[in-house]
């Protein structure tokens, strides 16, 4: 590629809505295209829910905040939540049928057709499927090209293969940059939004774990201090980071007692969930509360 061709006319990035105006306000429109957005949370916080929701919302027309596109969903945690996706897709179809038809889709269109799922087991496998993905994106003739790639989760790919020695950590770091470089290159070329989920580790008080990265001094979830997995090196590889946290409130709340999904509603425990913006090149620090319902995730204006 000749250097002269690298000169671009920068365009404002398109945004993919999160499905709710409260959460969109927090992110000034939604998930931006041409960059990698990371969602960090402990398990059971709603990462996968949010990703499934985004994969469906991408099919909406741009006037409603979508990208009129299909998505690629790479999952490394098993099993893939097929039943929940079914549930969300049915709700989505019922709610947005007219909008989907307006984009040129058939009456009998199933939103699940717009999500291409692939399972991955190791980081090397992820690197291996990049050229495949690239040629797929290049040669795809469909009316609804892929504009969203979800990787759920990136941490699971690195948990088992690497020891804690410095050589392995260096190998791991260079893999981070390779993967991130390839993803960013695809994102830039094909104007994709890339969403990656990450797990958390407990803060143990030594090493570089407690380093302040982004707006939040400390990340708390379920009453304990946590840090994003994969360390400082991976933090350098993503453009934006969102943190989903949850807290169990023991006291009874008269206004809204939300049955938490796990315990089936014993007592009056409420689970409150928040979305925090840890860092992003275009956003001021913000947080918003959200709930997970049958129809999906939506923000709460309290």
């Amino acid at each position: 590629m000749a250097p002269e061709n690298l000169l671009r006319r920068p365009q404002p990035a398109e945004k993919l809505t999160l499905g709710c105006p409260v959460m969109d306000r927090c992110l000034a429109g939604g998930i931006p295209c041409e960059s990698i957005t990371e969602i960090v949370a402990e398990s059971g916080s709603g990462k996968t829910q949010l990703c499934l929701q985004l994969a469906l919302l991408a099919q909406l027309p741009p006037s409603l905040g979508g990208l009129s596109a299909s998505s690629i969903y790479l999952h490394s945690e098993f099993p893939f939540p097929t039943r929940r996706l079914h549930q969300l897709a049915a709700q989505f179809h019922a709610h947005h049928l007219q909008d989907l038809i307006a984009t040129g889709r058939d009456q009998r269109y199933d939103p699940m057709d717009g999500i291409l799922v692939q399972s991955i087991h190791t980081a090397d496998q992820l690197l291996d499927i990049m050229p495949q993905t690239e040629s797929f994106l290049q040669n795809s003739q469909t009316q609804f090209p892929v504009r969203l790639i979800v990787i759920d989760s990136i941490a699971a790919l690195f948990r088992s293969d690497f020891d804690n020695t410095s050589i392995d950590l260096m190998k791991r770091s260079s893999l981070f940059f390779k993967i991130s470089g390839k993803l960013k290159s695809l994102a830039s070329r094909f104007r994709l939004a890339v969403v990656v989920t990450n797990q958390v580790v407990d803060y143990v008080g030594d090493g570089m774990n407690g380093l302040k990265i982004g707006n939040l001094e400390e990340l708390y979830s379920s009453g304990r201090r946590v840090c994003p997995a994969l360390g400082l090196a991976w933090s350098n590889c993503v453009n934006s980071r969102l943190f989903l946290s949850r807290e169990e409130d023991e006291k009874a709340n008269n206004c809204s007692v939300e049955r938490s999904e796990e315990d089936g509603g014993f007592g009056s425990r409420t689970t409150r969930r928040w979305l925090h913006l840890v860092f992003a090149p275009h956003l001021a620090p913000s947080s918003c509360e959200f709930v997970i319902r049958r129809e999906g995730i939506s923000g709460v204006d309290r």
């Binding site: 590629m1 250097p3 002269e4 690298l6 000169l7 671009r8 006319r9 920068p10 365009q11 404002p12 990035a13 000034a28 931006p32 041409e34 960059s35 990698i36 410095s166 770091s173 260079s174 893999l175 940059f177 390779k178 470089g181 960013k184 290159s185 994102a187 830039s188 070329r189 090493g207 570089m208 380093l211 302040k212 990265i213 982004g214 707006n215 001094e217 360390g231 400082l232 090196a233 933090s235 350098n236 993503v238 453009n239 980071r241 840890v278 860092f279 090149p281 275009h282 001021a284």
Partner: protein, 336 residues
Amino acid sequence: MDPWKLPISSAIQRKRLLSQSYTSHASASPSDLACADRASDVIYLLLIEPQVITSKFSVFSFLFVIGAQNAWDILLEEESMTRITTSCAELDKILGGGISCKEVTEIGGVPGIGKTQLGIQLAVNVQIPSYYGGLGGKAIYIDTEGSFMVERVLQIAEACTEDMTEYGRFLGKSIQARQVEMGPKDFLENIYYFRVCSYTEQIGLENYLDKFISEHRDVKIVVIDSVAFQFRQDFDDLAQRTRVLSAMALKLMKLAKKFSLAVVLLNQVTTKVIESSFQLALALGDSWSHSCTNRLILYWNGEERYAYIDKSPSLRSASAPYSVTSRGIRNSSSNS
């Protein structure tokens, strides 16, 4: 006086003089002497036969060695050297007015500290017209990570035009009520944006910059965001990486000197294991850290952002607080 009788230290130098056909001092005109390979050759000739040369001395002193300057001229030049403001008074103070042109400055920090924000602020501030105290130049922004967000640039540019209008009003009659002609979109137009997706593209682009800037002489700053990202992938031979990076740093320095522009390199941080304890260090290794003239480290101090001058040939080490606001980089809001 024949060259071979001159008390020149080695036979090689004598041979060289002869090869350049200086058979006698009379035949060597000042311009010939100025083109001699080594200044030492010329000095010897001067010492030996001063009376012959004095008549040509005035012309000779200028042609002494091509490309050299005397220290007095350099000092005068440095004092008139323009600086690009960072829009934060505290930061400008420790930087002696701002980021200096003709030099390479490296800025490093953890993710989210404001490196890209500072890069964008400088790319906007370089465009401030001269009647508002700026350079009135254009910017080159080389994006290797995809952090350049147009909406943010427009936001910062808008705040800059508002500040300029405010300043113009403050100066009142002296500016003759000059309307600020530039809008946020004009600021965006004046930033030449390059998106780089691999280290080969990055190297190729840096080699191309000389030609590009010769054709666009009003460019006064080159920002590379970030210089490290593409190079932190697997390099089979780390020594090769060091060589490539050193060559790159040298080219950038030459660019800065040749076109009198500022080169700002944004770098990432990594952990370094020193005696089984972890410490933060800038990426790209120890040899890279020698390549830049100035280094600024951005770090968190509690809830506040601070900038620290880690390396500078002329400024003393100092820290200054700054903040990232919706208007861009500004003074820190706390009073302490």
